[in-house]
Amino acid sequence: MATEPTALPGQPGQTMQLRDIVLDFRTRSGFGQDKVFRALDGVSLDIAPGQIVGLVGESGSGKTTLGKTMLGVHRPTSGAIHYRGTDLAAAAPSAWKPFRRDLQMVFQDPLSSFNPRFTLGSSLALPLALHAVVPKKQIPDEVASLLTRVGLTPDHAKRYPHELSGGQLQRVAIARAISVRPRFIVADEAVSKLDVSVRAQVLNLLKRMNRETGVGLVFITHDLGVARFLCDRIAVMYFGRIVEEGPTEAIFEEPKHPYTLSLLRARQHDRAPVASDADEAGLAIPDPAKACHYAPRCARRLPRCLVERPRLGEPPHAFACFNPVPAAAAAPAPAVMKA
């Protein structure tokens, strides 16, 4: 997806098209110049309506930052976000207003995403009233039906956040996200704090909501097993870039990027050695303009990788690597996967 930033989206529909998104964070370093940290470095990604797209990668890879950028929390330094005929990246915050209802979020920690002094019923009623989803008189009924749809009872509307368990509260967070009938939900590590048995319930709920309402989902996770279950497509991120992107089956059956392969192997508890990142604190990202940013850790590094940066190839299965993993190297899945 090496579309030029100038190219206009061919499909004016409701696919969200991210094109060459760059996001720099500036940190003050006392006197002198500010330091610039490039959190997103030329990210291009299509999110089609109704699809579940997984963003996977380690902490610091930029997956959360990318999710927030899609919602307008961060404004990209450059690049474009084409959505329903508007370039959201260039748009002023006020121009986002018509799209807010379309784009909702579910966070990792459900307890901190509710006002502790509101009953859950009032937390659910607020967005319904703000966006005038239903006439005011019907709001209590709508709240009750939302709670029922996510497997709770209308009675939960009277409760406060601390009275519910993490799994129940995450259900309410999902109910709130779907209440305004959005087109996309960004879910950031939405199940990683939940217990194993509860995690399955919430994952099933997210999938069911997607199937029933056609809401698209951007699912941010570090857990490949969860991504495999839930996602239609997966984008693997490493240090602010997408290194591989494609249909879930292709990512798992035929990983092309060495980083994807090492993530898969780490899950499978393969005994083969992984490149050590023991010195990670001192590991400087090489000159971003010249080398492949994965080269320092890469087991398949070629001389070329140090002087030339590979571009992400073409969809449907795109990868940024000069020396991709041969098809036979992918190992079969183990019996017990990380849950």
């Binding site: 995690r199 999938k207 023991a278 849950a339």
Partner: protein, 323 residues
């Protein structure tokens, strides 16, 4: 029976917390043994009592906790007989702990070197100056390539993976006989997690230490444990060799946990779901899992099952298995 006692023998451990006028029972009669150089996995969800079990053994709980046990024997030595003063000599030397959050295990105002110096001098074989050379070699042992720099770093300057390595270096400096590792990789990324697990495994063998490995993750348990104990609502509901428990679980709860991870691996349209949530009120009588159990029988509501043999060195707490 063995002539020499097992490394650790825990009999009927009960830990409760005072909450207002009530006592909340977190651990309700846990018994197990750990042999020499053995890794026992303690698996459970939140509120199952697995962490409190580990903390009770090391007496690391706050004052409103009451710890009782029929026996806690370490190499035959009755630990409950030790007072706080003499127990402190064991803890951190013979019995060490690796916590989930390495940041909390370090004093933020002191360098990594300061921590290692104290750990090494605590063992008191090294004289005042020689600790530095030993600290550097320990850091190299845990895969840190620039030990001088790490020694002079403060905890906040290191990543989670590096800190967990430094913590493991501190623990191996003490050469403990038993390491209690409580979710030591839960906060780490997948690749780092694997490296840390590998480190624990390597040093456990090198030190000939035993490990009580507390985790909620079956895949990690499969990877690192010799035996596995599954906890639910403060009790061990199944215990046995890791292979037997994971391939052929006999308690419905253990089977459900396993089923959940298998359905992740097999990419089904919907995951296997176990109804309800852990951590609810424990019924006064009957089996604590009865309310969620897919195989519940009428008698489960009234009879509290005891541990029954279901295979070689393999027991489960379930009425489905004959007396």
């Amino acid at each position: 029976m063995n002539a020499s006692p097992p490394l650790l023998e825990v009999m009927n451990l009960r830990t409760s917390f005072a909450v207002g006028q009530r006592r909340v029972k977190a651990v309700r009669g846990v018994s197990f043994t750990i042999g020499d150089e053995e890794v026992l996995g303690l698996i459970g969800e939140s509120g199952s009592g697995k962490t409190v079990t580990g903390m009770s053994l090391l007496r690391l709980l706050p004052d409103h906790a009451a710890i009782e046990a029929d026996a806690i024997r370490f190499r035959g030595d009755e630990l409950t007989a030790h007072d706080e003063e003499s127990f402190r000599k064991l803890r951190g030397v013979q019995l060490a702990m690796i916590f989930q959050d390495p940041v909390g295990s370090f004093n933020p105002a002191k360098t990594i070197g300061w921590h290692l110096e104290h750990a090494i001098l605590r063992r008191s074989e090294t004289d005042g100056k020689a600790w530095r050379a030993e600290a550097e070699s320990l850091l190299q042992d845990v895969g840190i390539r620039a030990p001088e720099r790490v020694l002079s770093s403060y905890p906040h300057q290191l990543s989670g993976g590096m800190l967990q390595r430094a913590l493991i270096a501190m623990v191996i400096a003490l050469r403990p006989a038993l390491i209690i590792a409580d979710e030591p990789t839960t906060n780490l990324d997948n690749l780092v997690e694997r490296q840390i697990l590998e480190l624990i495994r390597v040093h456990q063998r090198r030190l000939k230490a035993s490990v009580l490995f507390v985790t909620h993750d079956l895949a990690i348990a499969e990877d690192i444990c010799d035996r596995i104990a599954v906890m639910y609502a403060g009790e061990i509901v199944e215990i046995g060799p890791a292979d037997a428990v994971l391939r052929n679980p006999q308690h419905p709860y253990a089977a459900c946990l396993l089923q959940t991870s298998i359905s992740l691996a097999q990419r089904q349209e919907y995951l296997f779901e176990l109804a309800g949530e852990p951590g609810g009120k424990i019924p006064d009588e009957g089996c604590a899992f009865a309310g969620r159990c897919p195989k519940v029988m009428p008698q489960c509501r009234t009879i509290h099952p005891d541990m029954r043999a279901v295979g070689p060195d393999h027991q489960a707490r379930c009425l489905l298995h004959g007396d």
